[in-house]
């Protein structure tokens, strides 16, 4: 193994052994980066055959799925990597909250991470719409109409998103542009920034760099550390296992593709993509602006304020369920439980 390779230099020379264990990070940040790479590669391959037009979108996805050599595999990997990325990013957020890794000096990086969560959800949403089949009716009609409910800027936002005041042939081009350029490219930049800030803020959150006032702080010189060769070995192992899981999911549960949708009116059975089922459930209970816009954005604001208002302690970093961060843990876990509960209610209905 060449120690001077570019790939190795992307990593710190050593990292603390305790925090490098799978049961501390579960490799969730690295997995998310790997899934992003899988999405970029498979997405680029899909671009060769995808036709972003009213007539061509659905038919070209069908061509990719049924006609292009290994097209089903590329599309399946893209689909499952996208679903997995929502899961890994959310679990990564939970890990950061439960181990107090959002605390100073990582508060700004917490915000960058939150923005990446939003990017991932929007990327999944726009990618979902690009299938242009009957399954996307809720996403296309209800999802975009939520923008219209926002006072003052709503209609302009809607026009920017869909390319007009109603769904039209330009809409598919808009979603295509948003998915690849407006979201994926920007998300890539923020992801690099996020990783840079991890290094800039002292590397992975660990006991050795905790507050000086803490009694159980270890001196960095006495902290057991692993080399970056070992770190890379673990990363490659995680990537291979993730690839195996993605391949098996693709083989056993290939993503569906329905006939081209008729978007003149919303069918009764239309459902949101699984990661927005909780929003769909909220919308059944009340005003679209409140349920579909204010509450989701409000939850995001609460998350953003976690290190600034809810838990301003510097102690408790790198400890699972640390006492200092109890309030933040309860708020975020409650939020997750409510979202999962709403999703389950939506699915059961």
């Amino acid at each position: 193994m060449k120690h001077s390779s570019f790939f190795h230099h992307l990593h710190p020379v050593t990292i603390p052994e305790r925090e490098a264990r799978y049961r501390y990070t579960f490799g969730l940040g690295g997995l998310s980066v790997f899934l992003f790479i899988v999405l970029a590669v498979t997405g680029a391959l899909e671009l060769f055959y995808y036709v972003p037009s009213l007539d061509g979108a659905n038919r070209s996805v069908q061509a990719i799925t049924f006609l292009v050599p290994f097209g089903w595999l590329v599309r399946g990997l893209h689909y499952w990597a996208a679903q997995a990325m929502v899961v890994t990013v959310v679990l990564h957020l939970l890990r950061v909250v439960l181990t107090g890794a959002y605390k100073r000096p990582r508060r700004f990086n917490w915000l960058l991470g939150l923005s990446l969560l939003v990017f991932v959800l929007l990327l999944d949403f726009t990618g979902f719409v690009l299938r242009w089949d009957t399954d996307i009716e809720w996403a296309l009609l209800v999802g975009t109409n939520l923008l219209k409910t926002i006072p003052l800027i709503g209609p302009a936002l809607y026009g920017t998103a869909v390319g007009g005041q109603q769904i039209n042939p330009d809409t598919i081009v808009r979603f295509y542009g948003w998915h690849i350029f407006g979201l994926a490219l920007v998300a890539f930049g923020v992801m690099i920034w996020h990783a840079f800030r991890v290094r800039r803020d002292g590397g992975i959150s660990s006991l050795s760099v905790r507050s000086r006032s803490s009694s159980d702080t270890l001196s960095p010189a006495h902290t057991p550390r692993i080399s970056r060769n070992e770190l890379v070995r673990r990363e490659v192992l995680g990537a291979i296992i993730a690839t195996i899981i993605l391949l098996i999911l693709t083989l056993v549960f290939p993503p569906s593709i329905g006939p081209v949708g008729d978007f003149k009116q919303l069918p009764e059975q239309a459902t949101a993509p699984w990661f927005f089922r909780w929003v769909q459930q909220l919308l059944r209970w009340g005003d679209p602006l409140l349920m579909g816009v204010v509450i989701p954005i409000g939850l995001l604001v609460v998350l953003a304020l976690v290190p600034y208002l809810i838990d301003r302690h510097e102690q408790g970093v790198a400890r699972w369920f640390n006492r200092e961060g109890r309030a933040a843990q309860i708020v975020v876990l409650l939020m997750v439980v409510v979202i999962i509960g709403l999703t389950l209610i939506g699915v059961l209905q």
Partner: protein
């Protein structure tokens, strides 16, 4: 004794050659796309033609499906418009094909209508019209999208105004040619969304082979993962 040994060796070599020929010949997946023109009488007043009557070469093609599929429409359009220059089997403007025209029309570029000095409503017929079917045909095209583009923008030869042939007609003719080349499956409708998928002269791996190959890949990755785990346990 030596003669007997020599005979056995020769027989074994011969047997091996027969087995190899059987394997590589009968098992070949490459379809034979060569064209064997069937000569049939079209002009009874032209006795020099010795033809076998199996069907009339100028008969309108019968549709495979009801209503006619895109392929059927392409076959009819080809028969109606393309056949004079490109031949009934896509063989091009061969001498054999021109003989079907009869003595008066078989040297049509010497006629008033198709010579270099043709009247405004005529056109100059090229001496060489490339074959559309057969092993040497359509070498410059990679896929259906390229073929469609040239058909739509350059055909028919005498009218390049792009108004003669509609998009649907151009797609139908392209579908007909791709089917004749064995690259467009029956029942698939060709259009802009999938035309680049159908590659000429390329035998893509079948769907049956892709899944086992993917499963093998999973196995190889699993072996790599085990190797990396063992590498980790060996390190101090």
């Amino acid at each position: 004794m030596r003669w007997w040994r020599l005979s056995v060796i020769v027989m074994l070599i011969g047997l091996a050659l027969i087995v190899m020929a059987a394997c590589f010949g009968a098992g070949s997946s490459t379809p034979d796309r060569s064209i064997t023109p069937t000569l049939i009488p079209i002009r009874t007043d032209f006795p020099d033609l010795v033809l076998t009557l199996t069907y009339n070469r100028l008969d309108k093609p019968q549709p495979e499906a009801d209503p006619p599929s895109q392929y059927d429409q392409g076959a009819v359009y080809y028969w109606l418009v393309c056949i004079p220059c490109h031949g009934d089997r896509g063989q091009g403007l061969t001498d054999e094909w021109r003989q079907v025209f009869g003595p008066e029309e078989m040297n049509c570029w010497q006629s008033d209508c198709h010579s270099a000095h043709h009247p405004p409503d005529g056109f100059q017929l090229p001496h060489t019209v490339p074959p559309l079917l057969g092993p040497t045909a359509l070498q410059r095209f990679t896929n259906g999208a390229e073929l469609y583009h040239v058909i739509k923008t350059s055909m028919p030869w005498w009218d390049r105004t792009r108004t003669y042939m509609s998009e649907a007609e151009a797609w139908a003719v392209t579908a007909y040619l791709l089917r004749q080349h064995g690259v467009l499956p029956r029942g698939v409708t060709l259009d802009a969304a999938n035309a680049s998928v159908f590659r000429l002269r390329t035998q893509s791996p079948s769907k049956v082979e892709e899944r086992p190959m993917t499963i093998i890949l999973v196995g190889l990755l699993a072996i790599m993962a085990i190797g990396l785990i063992r590498l980790g346990t060996r390190q101090p």
